[in-house]
Structures are given as structure tokens and as C-alpha cells.
Amino acid sequence: MAFNNMFKNAIDDTNRNKNIGTFAYLFHRITGIGLVIYLILHTYVLSSAISGKESFDKRMGFVQSPLFAVLEVFLIAGVFFHMLNGVRISICDFAGLTKSHKLFFWIEIALFAVIMIITIILQVPKMQSGYYPGM
């Protein structure tokens, strides 16, 4: 099995091919793995609804503190990078536009920047006070 040098190989590959595509691929993987971990945590938090309203509200209250408002910015960044990059590679593959992948990458980054500016504007008040006074 070839798992032995997987991290070293990943770093070597990136060093050999310092192209936009390589970095897009690398970030797609990293955000993908991160989102899978988040999905499991998200399932854990929300599954408290099975025990009823009280345990759900308690666990949801815990994850809506100012600290989590900061962490959510990273979550949303991961989601939207992975989403936009996934849409980009699908468009390039299925519409035969692989030759323009760099152009699509910069369009992707521009959309990503707009979404992140909106995200930060909306998250900052939550970072200061949390979602709800008194929680």
C-alpha cells in the first residue's frame, strides 16, 4: 500500500507543479476532509433533537457563542471554496472548457471574495455579542 509517504508525496507534487490547478486541487482536498469532519460534528450537535427540545436548545446554545461565530467564518470559507471549485471543475469537464480553467479559477476567487466579505460583515456582530443576549 502506498499510504506511507502520502503527506511527503503531496508536498513534493505541489513543489514540482506550482500551478493554479495544483493549489486548487490541494485546497479542494483539504477543505473536503475538513467538511467531512464538520459533517460528523454537525450530526452530533443536531442529533440532540432526538432527545427533545431541551437537549437540542442546550447543545445549540453552546455552539452559538461568539467563539463559534469566529469559527463559522472558516467553515463558510471552506464550504464556499469547495463549492465554487467543484462547480468550476464540473463546468470545465462537462462543457469542454478545460483550456479556460485558469480564467474560471479567477472568476471563482472573485465570487469567493464577495461571499466572504458578506459573511464577515454578517458574522462580526455575532462575534461581539453572540447570537442572543443572555445566552
Binding site: 502506498a2 473536503g32 459533517l39 442529533s47 432526538i50 436548545d57 463558510i76
Partner: protein, 120 residues
């Protein structure tokens, strides 16, 4: 040079793309509704009020959850497959992922049912 790609690998690759495009729509809406449009605290009352009366939202979440789980586990499998795992490892990992996926889907369905019911 060209290696023969098994039909199963091709199918899972295609399903990863397909589920990904669905998720682009689902996740955009999900984040929009929960983080951008809704700026207050999210609790049981808020969620069950939104979900309990609406067939559209029920359908949305009962599609969203399995798509997410499939895309997540299939994605991790695709990463592992890049490192050419042995046959035994593949069979074992696929079995684990199917069981994990099934457990997550059941937990998701129970969670949604409770939120839809609107009962504490």
C-alpha cells in the same frame, strides 16, 4: 499508457460530480437561510416552525442529508483510492463506509422527524 478504468470507479466519479452539483444548490440555500437571512438565535422553536408546516422544506432536507453523507464518504473513498489500496483494505473500508453512511442517515432521519414534528 491508458489504464482501464472500472465501470464502478467511473460511476462513483460521476455520482460524486452529480451529488456535488446538487449540494451546491442545497448548501447555498442552507447557509443563506441559517446564517445570512436569519440573524437571531437558532433553537428548536425556530427550526421546527420553519420545517413543520412546509412540505417543500421536508423534501429539501430529506434529499439534502443523504446527498451530503454520500458525497462526504465517497469523497474520502476517492482520496484513499488515489493511493492504490490493496484489495483487502478496499473491501474493509467500503464496508465501514457503508455502515457509517447508514448510521448517519438513520440519525439524520430521526433528527429531521423530531424537528418536523414540532413537539419538544
Amino acid at each position: 499508457m491508458a489504464e482501464k478504468v472500472s465501470n464502478q470507479s467511473l460511476l462513483t466519479w460521476f455520482l460524486q460530480r452529480l451529488s456535488g452539483l446538487f449540494l451546491a444548490f442545497f448548501l447555498f440555500t442552507h447557509i443563506d437561510v441559517n446564517h445570512f437571512l436569519h440573524q437571531g438565535m437558532i433553537n428548536f422553536g425556530v427550526v421546527s416552525e420553519r420545517l413543520s408546516g412546509s412540505f417543500g422544506w421536508k423534501l429539501y432536507y430529506f434529499l439534502f442529508v443523504p446527498f451530503c453523507i454520500f458525497h462526504a464518504l465517497n469523497g474520502i473513498w476517492a482520496i484513499l483510492a488515489d493511493y492504490r489500496p490493496s484489495g483487502g483494505f478496499s473491501v474493509f473500508t467500503k464496508a465501514v463506509f457503508w455502515i457509517l453512511g447508514l448510521i448517519l442517515t438513520i440519525i439524520g432521519a430521526l433528527t429531521l422527524t423530531n424537528l418536523f414534528s414540532g413537539r419538544g
